[in-house]
Amino acid sequence: MRSTHSLFIWCLVVGAVFGMNMLWVTQQETKLSPKNTLFQGKIISIPGFDGNVVSFQYKTEDEVVVVRYTLLSNSEKRILQKNLHAGNSYRIIGQLEKPNSPTNFHSFNYRQYLNHEHIYWILTAEKPPHPLPSSLTPVERIMQWREKQIYRIQNTFPEPIDGLMSALIFGDQSHMPVELQKAYQTLGIVHILAVSGLHVVLLLAMVNFICLRLGMIREHVLFLLLLFIPIYVILTGAEASVIRAGLTGMFVLGYTLIKKVHLTSIDLISIVFLVMVFYDPEFLFQMGFQLSFLATSAILLSAHTIHKKAFSYLEQLLWLSVICELATFSILIPSFYQFSFISFFMNMLFVPLMTNIILPLSIMTYTVSYIYSPLSFVLSQFMSSLLKYPHRILLYFYYHPHFVLTYGSLTPVMLFCMVLLIYVCLCLWEHRLKRGEYLLLIPFIFMYTMVVLSGTWSSQGQVVFLDVGQGDSVLIQLPHHRGTILIDTGGIVPYKTEAWKKKKDPFKVGRDVVLHELRASGIHQIDMLILTHSDYDHIGGVKDLIGQIPIRKLIISPWFNPSTADIKMLKQAYRQGTKIQKVQKGDTINFSTYAFHVLSPATNQDSNNNSIVLQTNLGGLNWLFTGDLEEEGENQLTKNYPRLSIDVLKVGHHGSRSSTSEQFLNVIKPKYAMISVGKNNRYGHPNQEVLQRLSSLHVKIMRTDQLGAIRWSFKNDQITRVDFAVQQ
């Protein structure tokens, strides 16, 4: 009893110390304000050149900011690539801006992410950074050496070996080919690319072996290793997982030196955790930190049981990957929304391949390249041929998502239940004398069933006007999973750029907004995709959806005017099993009790006026989705339906002057006007005249450029709430 009491008191003390540390000591507020425009400081990360933008972390006297500079020419890019280095001092003139906060309900919160790294501002440089004379600290020297090595690897070895090597040896994943990196991520094997305990152990063992062979005393070698670890941590980019591994290594060496202390591995990892969190509480919110600690402790806790239950290496590997997936589920699902069962097999394929073959080979190749470069070339060729087929398999499953469960963003209650369920299942699995592998699969399947059932039971429906920038995309989810309807997909009009300006992974609205939001809402198929007309800002995103999410039916007007690219896209959709249906005035599309009436087009006109116009009743309101309908089309509409009365109007053509005529408004008398429009768009949408016309009729205007995505929730015949993605 006494020890229980003292344990409790210790917990209270540690909790109080950490709480105070978090509240008063390490809490940082920004000292900068937008008034500051001239800065002096050091670059503290490797400058990343992506197309015509260079960005890096920059330490001013007060705090760290992210600097962005838009390059003017290719020659400037080359000059800066030569001159910008981590560790050097520069003078920068520019404007401070707050990082973007999300404009869709589930989009990545870049501002929050940076805040957790104690970064509060983005500095948009007006001129290229001006170098200042400065002296380098030892840490900066190591950083510069690292940068040089990464640059060297990039220039020496072929793709994708260069990216892999700089990830595996120097912890820099930014040179991996984009799709490959995404494939590693979605299929749950990205952990292989992170420098972690394995690397530290491998390296320590190597150094230890060499030093002992050279005849050094064991104690001296230990000291040497203790010094070596921090250098290695800086050399590999000092990510959370490396720091964890390094600190653990140092503790192990430390207590081997002292000899008096006995710690279990769980004690060790707990101490390292406390040390890291005490140093910086914001670590707790960083995904790398969370994943690293969760996975490692899960492995430590299950090692004994796995050893008892599985005999072969591959079997142990499978168990381990399942347990790691379970342990990190509560972190991964809220940000990726999906789980792929392929990931178990990918782990079984890639973990042995990478750890036993590719990692030693790449270290060898890298070392050999200093001594005899032709041999290193042969080795790198060998590596790329080794990885060719595994990578093909990986990419196949990335592009063809089989065996994938979409959970969507789980509610906190569900997440809590999930964690509890996972823990109980792990305990039961451990308790069972027999293998009981099914116990480990229960959480995945049970939770998925819960997600599906809760959607089926929920009598709440939603209409979401997504913020796709300049473009249209409306997502309608009917109650009880009766149907998912997507009207248009947004799209960024592509324009030709010079090769040097091309971004490595440009923003794609179909993938990064529409598909992301669909997945976050737990949608695993689109029942009906309506393409109102063929303008790129309405259908540009379709190609990012096809193949990634099943589309049951695609609806276009008979006068849909496809370009050759569109025809290709439609054909591809057709091959994927999508039915293509044409509708015109007078047609009705039914989803159980919900009816969508097509009011236009009746005849062939110009492209915008060929827009499909839909009228429906949701949550007791009459909705009109107009696409890009212009005055001409509106007139025809009011002629055909003179008694049309509407509550919510999706304003035609993003609020252009040529739409939403006074006459039209007088007939339909909307109460709300939704304008889907991009911030600072070059067309000047929405037009002031249109806004005046609407406000003079006391129509409430909601704009996606101001409010972000807009979500109307309804239940039966009632609108229950309207949310905006941008906090007001």
Binding site: L7, H262, L263, T264, L301, A303, H304, T305, E430
Partner: protein
């Protein structure tokens, strides 16, 4: 981190998911010592005396019981002791532990068996003739460390004679019974008789005629109609336990089973 009760070496049991949130201040044996103990596999033990059947030749086994038990069942004391549960085979290592525990006063050695004895007690409840609901309730209460209002078993440790108790200072059966953390009923008394059971040979033990045990009349009500669980350190021939069971018979228990640390 703890010290092994037997060899005094520092050891740590690997932490697992089940014990992640539990405060572990248990004392126990290190893995090296635990390996030397031979645990009797539950599904390969004699139905009646709990002996490890894997260590017995097939000719001595009949219908899942050993021939010794067959003999008991055919004899006059048939049905006195319904079943015995035993944890470990009485091998050389166990002999050393038992002699330290019983004769050299190292009482703490018993504490190391606490988790496994409690696990065995749970097995006893699971295999009892209670309804599933009662079993679940008892097991749940036991797991939570709550006391029952009524108990599934009346726990009766085998007594020592007054003289021996004075010599030794403790009764090893009571120490073992206390590991269960249940109410203990000292319903049996032992008269001052001659000689330790452990100093006698097999024939001598089997031929004990006069029963050294008698029922303490204060506890007649506590025994009446109840299931009794006798606790002893070791089951050798089964005579002692049967004598104790015979002494209890006066109070008309529902049935009598026993739990011992070792068998052999």
């Amino acid at each position: 981190m703890s010290l092994c009760l037997w060899c005094q070496s520092i050891y740590a049991h690997p932490l697992d998911f089940r014990h992640l949130f539990s405060v572990s201040n248990q004392v126990g044996y290190c893995p090296q010592c635990l390996v030397k103990l031979e645990q009797i596999p539950a599904h390969q033990s004699c139905r009646l005396c709990g002996r490890d059947l894997t260590k017995l030749d097939a000719i001595y086994i009949k219908d899942g019981t050993c021939l010794d038990c067959k003999k008991w069942e055919e004899g006059p004391s048939h049905g006195l002791l319904e079943k015995n549960y035993a944890l470990y085979s009485y091998n050389d290592f166990m002999k050393e532990i038992m002699s330290a525990f019983k004769f050299r006063g190292d009482v703490l050695l018993a504490e190391g068996f606490k988790p496994i004895v409690q696990m065995l007690y749970k097995r006893v409840i699971k295999e009892s003739s209670l309804t599933w609901f009662e079993k679940a309730r008892y097991l749940f209460f036991y797991q939570m460390g709550w006391q029952f209002k009524e108990y599934p078993y009346v726990i009766v440790p085998l007594p020592l004679s007054q003289k021996r108790l004075k010599e030794r200072g403790y009764n090893q059966s009571v120490v073992l019974a206390e590991l269960l953390q249940q109410r203990i009923i000292p319903a049996i008394r032992r008269s001052e008789d001659g000689g330790k059971q452990s100093k006698k040979g097999r024939a001598e033990r089997l031929n004990t005629i006069q029963n050294p045990f008698r029922l303490d009349s204060d506890y007649t009500d506590a025994i009446y109609g109840q299931c009794v669980l006798l606790i002893d350190d070791i089951y050798t021939t089964g005579t002692t336990l049967r004598l104790a069971a015979a002494a209890l018979k006066v109070a008309k228990p529902k049935h009598v089973i026993s739990l011992t640390l070792c068998h052999g």
